[in-house]
């Protein structure tokens, strides 16, 4: 699971609503897999990123050199874009967990795939 995906995920435990974001990320196995750098893609992604969530996740993975926010004129700043590219697309959580900040419910990540299924009771109205 990449950090860009983590940025889109939110807990759907009943009653939690928007307080289910962001999921707290812990990892026991992380892999770095290079992905082709597309500066246009990264530049357009920046406005869509939820920064606080990204920084928190990156922090939990103990990633270095993570920009704290978009810099002035970031669209042309290749260094900045490459760092963001790395953080968003190249860091893969292979084994770990995602925890709902509101309910405490834990979702496992196995072989890079988060299992977000809830039980019957957790989804019933």
């Amino acid at each position: 699971m990449k950090l860009l995906t983590h940025n889109l995920l939110s807990s759907h435990v009943r009653g939690v609503g928007p307080r289910g974001f962001p999921l707290r990320l812990e990892a026991t196995e992380v892999r770095v897999i290079p992905v082709e750098f597309n500066p246009d893609f990264v530049a357009r992604m920046i406005p869509k990123v939820e920064w606080a969530a990204l920084l928190e996740a990156a922090d939990h993975l103990r990633l270095a050199e993570v920009p704290k926010g978009p810099t002035q004129g970031y669209e042309q700043d290749e260094t900045f874009l490459r760092k963001m590219h790395h953080v968003l697309l190249e860091v893969e959580v292979v084994e770990g967990t995602l925890q709902c900040p509101e309910s405490g419910r834990v979702f496992p990540i196995t072989r890079g795939i988060p299992n977000m299924l809830l039980n019957e009771e957790e989804t019933q109205t």
């Binding site: 699971m1 990449k2 860009l4 995906t5 889109l8 995920l9 939110s10 807990s11 759907h12 009943r14 009653g15 609503g17 928007p18 974001f21 897999i33 290079p34 992905v35 082709e36 597309n38 246009d40 893609f41 357009r44 992604m45 869509k48 939820e50 697309l89 190249e90 893969e92 979702f107 072989r111 890079g112 795939i113 988060p114 299992n115 977000m116 299924l117 809830l118 989804t123 109205t125």
Partner: protein, 506 residues
């Protein structure tokens, strides 16, 4: 300008033209002649997606298309230099070069006379240019075969070392302990589905066996070509069958070229396509996938990659769009997406653990293919897989730009009764995650009645823009293109949602 100057100009003008003409003549010397050949190519596409395919042709080949009345076919002109690019088109299933198009074929009254006409036709057709194209195409395919053979060993290693088999055994053990529906387990184990998955993942990994056969023929230049005739006939007023036409036309072709007829191991496949009064003779440039034939026999399962491509293209993905398939099955759509629109981010999700694992494996295998192709080591793609429930997606509201999915038909998977509850819940949840105003969805389903009912009453969030009628292995299905309205999603309380959803079932 003085008279002299004007005369000089005219003279220069004339000389220039003559030079150009001279150059043109030297260009048409046999060696380079075939490269400047222009031919008409026919392509078969998923029925209903002719326009989408035509758009792709215009974009990638800069050629305009003629869409045939014979559904599922488009025609366009190219110069032979573009042949490689033609093979890279993602919306076409099969390609052929047109020998001749006979627009208004006058069928005689008796079968004997019609078949005689077909026999006589064989000798009158302009075969030479199309055959040149066929030859270029064959040598081009042989080059691909050589490269693939080299890579075969590489990729085979990867399959053996990869944790594929191990993972599946673990997952299956888990599942059998949890009394999951056994028919779902069996579904993904069906050989036909496994085969189809391999085609998705790429020729390199799948058609190793075929390549072995081809390459053994490669070295010895065959003296006598082997051929077959395939006839497709559609129309009510014909007094003959496609087999009869193929047989008699084939007989004449054999006499004319002195080729050897062979139905299975052929070099040249001659196509005789008859649609009402239109007869088109062509030579195949691609092989009809044997996988496809098996799949049709078992019933449609994994979505054809050409259809997946067509559905994605309908949504006009923009750079950095987030594209989600919330019921991805084995991942046909997101995989096609990650390959063709690598400037977007793709998410494949499904509730079935076997499906998600398959999708993840297919993604890994894709990585292997691009590794080999570009000589890059272990490069990843902008795609992720998640296990989730479509009715309760763990995605932020309004975070997704495009949703493309193949909804349960009720005949292959699930049931019609289940669709009545599933469809409204799906559309609801999809409207939540989809970005208001700019978001869109392309949804494939055979249960058109259920879908239409579920959609009505959701006009405040979904607006139907276009419907494409498609044929999936004999089933009449539809792809609905929806635009997400600008209205923001309102989270109702649990009770309201239940009421709203059940009201739609009345």
């Amino acid at each position: 300008m003085s008279d002299v100057q004007e005369a000089t100009n005219q003279l220069l003008h004339v000389n220039l033209h003559e030079n150009q003409r001279y150059i043109h003549v030297t260009e048409s010397v046999p060696r380079s002649e075939s490269e400047h050949l222009r031919v008409t190519i026919g392509a078969t596409v998923p029925t209903g997606f002719e326009q989408v395919a035509a758009d792709e042709v215009r974009e990638k080949l800069r050629s305009s298309c003629k869409i045939s009345k014979d559904r599922g076919k488009i025609y366009f002109d190219i110069s032979v230099e573009s042949l490689a690019q033609v093979h890279r088109l993602r919306s076409v299933d099969n390609l052929f070069v047109v020998v001749q198009e006979l627009k208004d074929f006058q069928f005689k009254e008796t079968k004997e006379k019609v078949l005689k006409d077909f026999e006589e036709l064989a000798g009158k057709l302009p075969w030479s240019d199309p055959l040149k194209v066929w030859k270029i195409n064959t040598s081009f395919k042989k080059k691909k075969t050589k490269r693939k053979k080299l890579n075969q060993n590489l990729s085979k290693e990867k399959i053996d070392n990869g944790g594929d088999k191990g993972d599946e055994r673990d997952v299956k053990k888990e599942l059998s302990n949890n009394a999951l529906d056994s028919h779902i387990l069996d579904y993904y184990e069906k050989p036909a589905i496994k085969e189809e998955i391999s085609t998705l993942v790429g020729d390199i990994l799948a058609s190793c066996k075929n390549e072995n056969d081809e390459s053994s023929k490669e070295d010895t230049e065959p003296e006598v070509l082997k051929f077959r005739v395939t006839c497709n006939r559609a129309g009510e007023k014909h007094c003959f069958s496609s087999n009869e036409a193929a047989r008699d036309f084939g007989g004449a072709v054999q006499d004319y070229f002195k080729w050897k007829a062979d139905m299975t191991n052929f070099d040249v496949e001659v196509l005789l396509n008859i649609h009402d009064n239109e007869v088109i003779v062509g030579i195949a440039l691609t092989e009809e996938s044997l996988h496809r034939r098996n799949i049709t026999h078992f019933g449609p399962t994994t979505l054809r990659s050409t259809l997946a491509y067509g559905m994605l293209r309908l949504c006009a993905p923009q750079p950095s769009d987030i594209i989600v398939d919330p019921m991805c099955g084995t991942g046909a759509i997101p995989i096609e997406g990650a390959t063709e629109w690598s400037n977007c981010f793709h998410i494949a999700g499904d509730n079935n653990p076997l499906a998600v694992n398959r999708a993840a494996n297919n993604i890994s295998s894709l990585l292997t293919k691009s590794q080999i192709k570009e000589g890059k080591l272990s490069w990843g793609l902008p795609i992720d897989a998640i296990q989730w429930d479509i009715c309760n997606l763990p995605l932020r509201t309004g975070s997704v730009d495009i949703i493309v999915t193949d909804m349960p038909f009720g005949k292959r998977m699930g049931s019609k009764k289940r669709n009545w509850n599933l469809y409204p819940a799906c559309l609801w949840e999809m409207s939540r995650i989809c970005k208001p105003g700019t978001g869109r969805a392309a949804l494939l389903t055979q249960d058109k009645k259920c879908f239409t009912k579920a959609l009505s009453g959701m006009e405040h969030v979904w607006r139907k823009v276009h419907t494409v009628w498609v044929n999936i292995g004999g089933l009449h299905a539809a792809v609905y293109l929806l635009n997400r309205t600008p209205q923001a999603f309102v989270h109702p309380s649990g009770q309201d949602k239940e009421e709203l959803l059940s009201a739609k079932n009345d």
